[in-house]
């Protein structure tokens, strides 16, 4: 993708997906992930959990880039091992967290897992939002527009990965918060997310998602016994931009393996397709029934009239 077109798309992003499709995206991102490739050129990140050393520099870089509150110095991040005592999740002031899990293969080498928004192909949050505050951008990022958000928090309930968080303690202008995939950075030619840049051991690889899937499978093939044969995110809920490799089954390091491969938006489509038929069929039936009733009443009335006349006639 050339720079001009990228910039053009970025301008259009605010105008909505439909417009972006018009400039030559081969497939609609709102269609079922199974049937269509989505945005084929979208970026992704492949996280190799066997490499991560748990230094939490990515957490620091994320706070720094997104100007999030409660930031500590980089040294404190690296030294603070106490945070690993509890599993953490994303919060209003934290878009990404690194958790520690025991390693059944080698107890001296715990497994560290970085988590953030997965940037789904077919995001549940986007299909839940009744003001379209979420957009799946052609570069892969799922972005959030706070200027539209009403604060119903359906997106949080609809996210299968429990990633969006809320500024509950902001009384007047609370926002949903989540990883932005450093949308501004990756929209520029050669841009890479802050966390990926920061990582000292190259746990994360940023690139085209299709290439990363190939890379993931190649790593699994080339290193027998190092990984379980699964690139997490390749097919989960229709596929995600962030992908993971692991040496142990994913459900033992905090991933849900029961999510299935059906994109979340697909689940409410059959119901939504019923809306217009109801407005066509029900009024027709109701008016029909009403006319029958009127006619029946009229006939009954005439019958009585006739009977009365007969009686009088006698």
């Amino acid at each position: 993708m050339d720079a001009d077109r990228r910039a053009f798309l970025k301008v259009l992003a605010g105008a909505g997906m439909a417009t972006a499709l018009g400039v030559g995206m081969p497939a609609s991102a709102s269609a079922d992930g199974d049937a269509l490739p989505g945005y084929p050129d979208q970026f992704g990140v492949l996280v190799d959990t066997t490499v991560c050393i748990g230094c939490r520099r990515c957490e620091w870089a994320c706070k720094e880039t997104n100007k999030l509150p409660n930031e500590k110095s980089l040294r404190e991040y690296e030294k603070d091992q106490a945070v690993f005592a509890k599993l953490r999740r994303t919060h209003a002031d934290t878009f990404t967290v690194v958790n520690r899990f025991p390693n059944p293969r080698d107890a001296s080498k715990p497994i560290y897992v970085k988590k953030q928004c997965m940037h789904c192909y077919e995001p549940g949050c986007a299909s839940s939002c009744f003001v379209k505050a979420f957009t799946k951008q052609p570069v892969g990022a799922v972005t959030y527009d706070a200027s539209l958000c009403v604060g119903c928090r359906y997106c949080m309930a609809a996210c299968p990965f429990d990633m969006p968080a809320y500024q509950y303690y902001d009384a007047f202008t609370p926002q949903v918060t989540k990883c932005t995939f450093c949308f501004d950075r990756i929209s520029k030619e050669g841009g890479v997310p802050a966390c990926v840049t920061m990582c000292p051991v190259e746990t994360m690889t940023f690139g085209k998602r299709t290439d990363l899937i190939d890379l993931g499978h190649k790593k699994i093939r080339d290193n027998p016994g190092r990984y379980v044969n699964h690139v997490y995110g390749e097919r989960e809920v229709g596929g995600t931009s962030w992908l993971y490799l692991s040496s142990v089954p994913f459900n033992t390091i905090g991933f849900r393996t029961d999510l299935g491969t059906v994109p979340i938006p697909t689940l409410s489509k059959p119901f939504l397709s019923l809306v217009s038929p109801v407005f066509i069929v029900i009024p027709a039936l109701a008016m029909g029934f009403y006319s029958f009733k009127k006619r029946r009443d009229k006939l009954a009335e005439e019958e009585i009239k006739k009977a009365l006349e007969k009686k009088e006639g006698k």
């Binding site: 003001v131 509950y168 029900i282």
Partner: protein, 411 residues
């Protein structure tokens, strides 16, 4: 309106007649010193500050909502139960105006009023749950998220509120003696009813469809492709059962308003409603079983959540269905009323299970949601204000009786 006059030759002014029940202001004030109002005053004295606290300090300090549990009882009870139990207006409207069941027509106005207020206060409660409540018109005027079930709910609830207002309007115009306006609105009743049927079918089921996006968070016993149908059918039960309860209560509390009060007629109608509730409950029960079979979730029945599910489905659906059938066949009106209450509790239980108890069942207990006391107080306060509004209107407008100056409605 029973005009209690201070002196035989006292002629109430317009304000005294319309607002103070035909009494001078002082006397009207004195007539409000009742035990009921004392309780109400107590609730409001705690509730209003809680509402202000929520508005000033935000959701964080006033609720137990969290990043894992974005929805609490303001959605689960106020919204889901409020709307389901306010379905009476739609059910009775269909029966009377579309199916021509004239026997039930005297229930139409109270049912519509209950429905209208139910929706109105569900929306008011929802406002406090929204992070940016002042943006509540956004899905209508700023940005259309047409792929969202919630978009449908927002539009339909707003439109349906308007429909019910139109259906209720004749009573307002009669109260204000506006003959011409009344005639226009009486003519609009049929259209509003038909439109209301479509809207109700869709948004009642859509409230359930909200949960279609969460198969990984909702317990399999409560998750099914049939959620929309379950919600719709149980809302019909809720509407009928609430009409039974509401008609009993208001015919007792406001009996003095009705000139030719015929308890026999009410009893007959109550039995009819009881039968309808029973049949709907049976149908709902079978749909629940079919949902269970369709998802092949039988093995979950022998777990803690399974027992709880059985309490809901057997205890508050199947048994009330049987009991109501028995009561109707043996003409036991009081029993019908009693089991209508059980059916209503069943609907509430179902909505709470769906949105709170079976939701996030995979999380540790420490991460689960338990309402904050302020959430409970705010809910009680909103319900109380709803009841106050209902009473205020019942005391002033011709809801239970035909206004003597007007012909009965015909369209």
């Amino acid at each position: 309106m029973d005009a209690i006059t201070a002196t035989p030759d006292f002629k109430p002014t317009w304000v005294q007649e319309k607002l103070f029940l035909g009494m001078p202001f002082k006397e009207y004030l004195r007539s409000n010193y009742t035990l009921f109002n004392a309780v109400v005053a107590f609730i409001l004295a705690i509730g209003i500050p809680v509402i202000l606290y929520r508005l000033i300090y935000g959701l964080g300090p006033s609720t137990n909502l969290s990043d894992n549990n974005p929805w609490g009882i303001w959605i689960g009870f106020d919204m889901l139960c409020g709307v389901a139990l306010a379905a009476g207006g739609f059910v009775i409207g269909t029966a009377v105006h579309l199916l021509g069941m004239k026997e039930y027509s005297f229930l139409f106005r109270p049912a519509v009023l209950t429905g209208f207020l139910g929706y109105l206060f569900a929306i008011i409660a929802l406002t406090f749950d929204l992070g940016r409540y002042y943006r509540i018109p956004y899905p209508m005027v700023v940005s259309w998220g047409v792929n969202s079930v919630l978009f449908l709910v927002a539009w339909h609830v707003a439109l349906y509120l308007t429909c019910q207002f139109v259906e209720w309007c004749p009573a307002i115009w009669e109260w204000l003696n506006l003959t011409k306006l009344r005639r226009i609105f009486v003519k609009a009743t049929l259209g509003a009813t038909i439109f209301g049927v479509c809207l109700s079918m869709l948004h009642q089921s859509a409230l359930g469809s909200i949960f279609l996006l969460m198969p990984e968070k909702l317990h399999p016993l409560w998750y099914s492709e049939y959620i929309p149908l379950w919600f719709f059918m149980s809302a019909i039960v809720g509407g009928i059962a609430m009409t039974i309860i509401e008609s009993m209560a208001s015919h007792r509390l406001f009996a003095h308003q009705i000139k030719n009060h015929d308890p026999e007629h009410l009893n007959r109608v109550t039995l009819g409603l009881g039968k309808a509730a029973s049949v709907t409950l049976f149908a709902y029960f079978f749909m629940k079983v079919i949902g269970l079979a369709h998802g092949n979730n039988w093995h979950y029945l022998d777990t803690a959540y399974g027992y709880w599910y059985l309490v809901e489905v057997i205890g508050f659906v199947f048994i009330p269905a049987m009991a109501l059938m028995y009561a109707v066949q043996n003409n036991r009106v009081r029993m019908v009323r009693g089991w209508a209450v059980v059916a209503v509790i069943g609907i509430i239980l179902n909505r709470l299970n769906q949105s709170i108890i079976a939701f996030n069942w995979h999380l540790d207990w420490a991460d689960r949601y338990v309402p904050h006391w302020m959430e409970v107080v705010l809910t009680v306060t909103i319900v109380t204000i709803g009841i106050l509004t209902f009473r205020w209107i019942m005391n002033r407008m011709p809801i239970l009786y035909d206004h003597p100056d007007f012909e009965p409605e015909e369209h």
